[in-house]
Symmetry: C5
Subunit: 356 residues, 5 copies
């Protein structure tokens, strides 16, 4: 996840300029139409094919997976009267999650975090909801909303199918919001591991991993804060789209959203605190190393001096001052006695200082 | 207490899905019915047995201890018309404390911190309060609300029994809130101990303990903040459940809640500050160690050089330059004089620098 | 000042439970009654003796000094109709400062900081003010409100005596608030001293002192913030107790309260900053020590090697390779030449690096 | 970018004092007049020449590039009735972005960040918008608003030309706001590079670069925060200048503005975190260096002591205590045995401590 | 600038107690009276002399420079009906800037920062403004408001003289506010210098200077924040003193006030960041020193061991094991070969680790 991951046009470009992004992935359009006991599904070749379903009284869900091309987007824009600026936002990925209200239509940009292997990725999902229809554009080739589809397909699930577009919108936003939980669970596990590493074997790799985690938490937070805000705005808007009895579901979804952010914040706090732990652990290790060196050096350097003294070659046939110790009967054992005394003294000194 | 301790369903699961958690503990249902001078208690086998009490004019308190199974929960849900989302929250532990108002019913999730041996645990207590009844679900096998029960059982305690469900709700929330005080007291004592350790004998274990404490404080804060908020919402809601003259009790409870959070915050501040103290203490220790090494090395390394000089074997029968000192009458004492002079000079140097 | 200094009952205890605190100090009750030119003072043996004064039109100030016993408190509670929760708060010291309005009565818990020798202490003062009376309970044996009493006693001080209970309440709150100024002055002086110490002779004692100061500032802040808030609530309440023309005095008092908090915050900022200074100073000192060691070691270790070379005992009667230098005419002076050259070179190197 | 980059008059100077700034750059005035299909462009020699265009019904855009001289400014001020304080602000660069409403005229100071080589520069753009005219003053010699001009010149671009002054104002503010994106992209790339450097080869240069980046981010934030605020004020003002259907464009612009600030904040967070990483990396490196020294010293210092012992010259013809080892048959190999044993022991010690 | 610089009376002192401060400076009173084309100036001996001017329709500005004595203050208080608390604030310097409204009179305490040599000082200016008069008390002997006086004296400056007291008040507050700009400019320059010092030659003096700067910034911020607030309150008050068309001037003044605070905050941020830089630089330096020591020690300690080996005195007439190397023909050159090989190996090791 790069520091700057936004697609944007050169400053001064006219608003609503649509440029398809290059991609190897294929676009697919999937339509689902349901009401009460009736559920119909179809793969569409072009956006225009959905026209028939719009006149019906049923709920129509148009799902565009993979990178949408500018023409399809323009066709959808014309059919559903979507605003130019909204269409531009769909193509320029890396947008800030937001909620925009155009007359009786709601436009939402949501961010769905997920792991692509070991790398965190944030997928931008664009949603248009209006009376009787919901358009969802998701750049992933595989449809992440399959669980919702399954619930609709379930026979006799009138609890879903007889409700309006607002319930479908809730189901999708709930899935998007909750997709942060497995991500956070992984982060929590990682933090747990790092913590043990840092306290026991502070290594450079842990520092690197910690830094990357902190960065991912920061990036995630940057999209989840405005997402929560957008959800709040959606619930507060004075619009007939969301019915009173569905509001409680949105509130539950918002509650999860708040809990996710609080978890994120406490993870960030802990990651910062762990950095301090790392520094302290390294300092402690340096201190330990230092202590070993000091003990060894402090014991052996004076001893080396002592033995150095008696390695000197002073010689004078008559002088009684010319290293008489060298000729003493017990000279050598006395030096050893001195060596042992100095060593014992220093060990006592180190013990008293709690260095040993 | 894990970083991520929330139970959740896979994203996309239908709201209100109830899955019993596996547990070795047993569930028990306890009913208490009181009004004025009448107090009645009973252990129930199934949730349905409480039906009789509901039609009476008295206050009925249904306490479910231990892990509630999905069927009992569903039965309670049907009898008291509890919302699907609320029931789901009861089972998915690790919820954010919150207050939800459904018509004339209040649903509260509260967090009760306690020590399980040396480990901090946060127990999720779920409360439903409606006209004439209060349902409380607590995953602990032992009933933590026994003190409240005792107060009701007290003969002639009309101050309690003649008041409504709101007073019972207050009594329970007060117990939940105040249960943070002993926890904080323990934390305060731990901090006190660590402080002394850190300033006097900075050790790795203290660092680890401090880190764990900081983590527990953070986790605790994550549940107590929304709890306070929920309490505020409860007091402000426009509902006939809580009477004007009971409000003052809730205000007292909220006051404790604020004081607890302020204590938490100041504990966190001190814990962070202590981490800095640890780092400074370690640096100070390294500096002290360093100084000992430097003093010893600086004194003995030059001395070793001096005695090394006179250990050289230069010899030339005729040269007056071939280490004449070795043959001087007072050569050896002069070297000792030099050694003492150098040592004295260095000690003077260290004294001036306040290193000794 | 302990981290956790609150007295509390076991969670689940009935509200309004009164337990006298054990204490060696004695309780005394002092009554002052004044209006216009009339001032009367009396020591009371029991709380009930004040009954006579209550019916008069004058202002009655009942001051309870020292640890109040539960019976006296209950008697006062009955006479003045004080709320159970308020009475409990009076006894459970370590409360959060607060303002509570019961009908025409105001209950205030205020915190008065003072030094007990070198230790900061925060005394909890409880105030009840109603039409014509003010009750003040202070756990200190000596009356801290003597200066107010003096002002009342002053002859012809109608500016005080002709005003209502609100002016007396202001005078007392003003004294409580202002008592933080000498405390802050002492803190300021301490900071000043520590600053000099830290920058010049960073020692462990200063670190300990700084940590204790930081802790005291934090604890002080924990009580002064809610005190300011309580004052604001008092001024904003819609009650006839405080007259419009006295409000300006309360505003002045609140202003001091804000200034005190701002001072506290800037002291905390500086204390935190000083911790960083300490760490930097220690690092600087380690660096200096290190440099001395490195210079000494770097100069003498190579020299010791050189003299070591010529201390070797290679000997071969015929070999021209067996340490011929030892037999050279100028061998020994040449070694000294080498020693001086190496030393000069290293000194030049250290000078260039600005290490000497 | 200097810490303090504001031009200001001496305190006490009368408001509205205009002093031209010295500059080698030349001023040029460019006029664009359009409405529907008609577009006209002209270079003006003096400000007064635009008079003719003002009476027409078309939109007139007067662009002053380069350092504006006081006379031209005064002339514009007289013609368009611009406020003295506003004119002063135009000349005193380094102003805080702001929005000021004078009757039917809007005055805006905006900040346009751009790289001048490798140095970040913030250009102050001053805008006056009134009914039918927009005056823009930009101290750059080259016109940064050329892309907007191009869009107007495009044949049949009635979507632009038929709209009012508000759409032109939006187009210009959009360009100014979006010009932060390339700047942030560069910052993101720099951060990415530094991160790799810091984790792999922490060097002083990276520290310097990081510090400069942090400083630039801080300076940028200082102008972009008030800019966002000014934009919000502009959108909320009760004025007929901005029409309802253009508001959505301004909202898009504001959205970008918020996203830019959020990016800035997260960049700052990462830069601060990187400083900690640097410190940790350096500490780690010191620890590594330390370890090498300790291993070498700890192994060789005792060995040097051992060989020092047998370099002593104790000699006594009769004493059996005078270094008998020197005369043993296997004395020398035994010393080597001791040396190898000590080395092996120390290596085992280091391995166990994970130092090797 | 001391940490605690407030003058205050002992807690419990009656409000409005006036005590002159001891000072060597002299007080002087200056009066300026103007309206339209008429301007009159006079030095007053006593406060009472201004009486004549008050009855006129003109604007009267009474400026008291130097330490005001309690009597003069009381005289002014009586003449202009100034509130006791306000008079007390004038004498007790070190007040928090504030705005107080008494009926038709405005009382302002403002803080004017300035450098007294190299020391930052904050001068407390007290202002009373009422219909037709403005009293300004400033403890400096020299009048800092001379530039305003000059503007009034200017012939035909009806733009100033024909406006009311509100414009005079603005002119004075503008001068007070803007006096922070030169101070900030100096701070900016100092920061710039320190930054270079810290990155290139981190020294203790820079640390001390940085700490003092940080402290001054904090102190300055403590007075400028409430000053901004007071200005806002002044502008929002519902009072006839400030006319609608003068408000825009006050808004400009407030704008400067905000910009000053934002600059202060960013300076503080940078100062904090520089402290981290200092610590990192010191650590880097320690690391560099360490590396030199390690390289030297690691190369020479093993070499000293080698030459120590051949300084041993093993001798046995028959043993082939008694240091046979000493008798080898090429023994000595072989030792040199070993020395060179070990040195080369270690240099290669250090090169690979990028330590050389």
């Amino acid at each position: 996840m790069a520091y700057f991951s936004k697609h944007y046009h050169a400053p001064g470009t006219a608003p609503g300029t649509l440029v398809s992004t290059d991609s190897d992935h294929k676009m697919s359009i999937h339509l689902m139409d349901y009401s009460g006991d009736h559920v119909e599904e179809q793969r569409l070749a072009t956006a225009e094919e959905c026209q028939d379903y719009l006149e019906r009284d049923s709920k129509t869900w148009i799902q565009v997976n993979g990178p949408v091309d500018a023409n399809t987007l323009r066709a959808l824009g014309d059919m559903f009267d979507l605003h130019d600026l909204a269409l531009e936002d769909v193509l320029n990925s890396g947008q800030r999650p937001k909620m925009e209200l155009y007359d009786d239509q709601v436009f939402l940009i949501a961010a769905m975090p997920m792991f692509d292997g070991d790398r965190l990725e944030v997928v931008q999902v664009s949603l248009f909801a209006g009376p009787g229809y919901l358009i969802c554009l998701c750049p992933l080739e595989e449809d992440p909303f399959e669980p919702v589809r399954k619930r609709i397909r379930q026979p006799n699930n009138r609890r879903f199918t007889s409700r309006g577009i607002d319930y479908l919108l809730y189901a999708m936003l709930d899935l998007i919001t909750d997709s942060a939980f497995p991500v956070l669970e992984t982060f929590g596990d990682k933090l747990e591991e790092m913590e043990i590493d840092l306290l026991e074997h502070p290594r450079k790799q842990t520092l690197t991993a910690l830094h990357h985690l902190k960065r991912e938490l920061l990036m995630l937070r940057r999209v989840l804060w405005p997402q929560r805000e957008a959800l709040t705005t959606l619930m507060r808007m004075e619009n007939s789209l969301i019915h009173q009895d569905i509001l409680i579901y949105f509130r539950d979804c918002q509650d999860h959203s708040i809990q996710i952010i609080e978890l994120l914040e406490s993870f960030r706090d802990m990651a910062t605190s762990m950095l301090d732990i790392y520094l302290s652990s390294i300092s402690q290790k340096t201190n330990d190393t230092m202590r070993v060196l000091t003990i060894i050096a402090t014991i052996f350097i004076p001893l080396t001096f002592i033995v150095g003294v008696y390695g000197m070659n002073f010689e004078h046939p008559e002088s009684p001052w010319a290293m008489p110790e060298l000729g003493w009967y017990y000279g050598y054992p006395m030096v050893w006695g001195l060596i042992i005394a100095v060593t014992a003294g220093l060990i006592w000194f180190f013990k008293r200082r709690h260095w040993m």
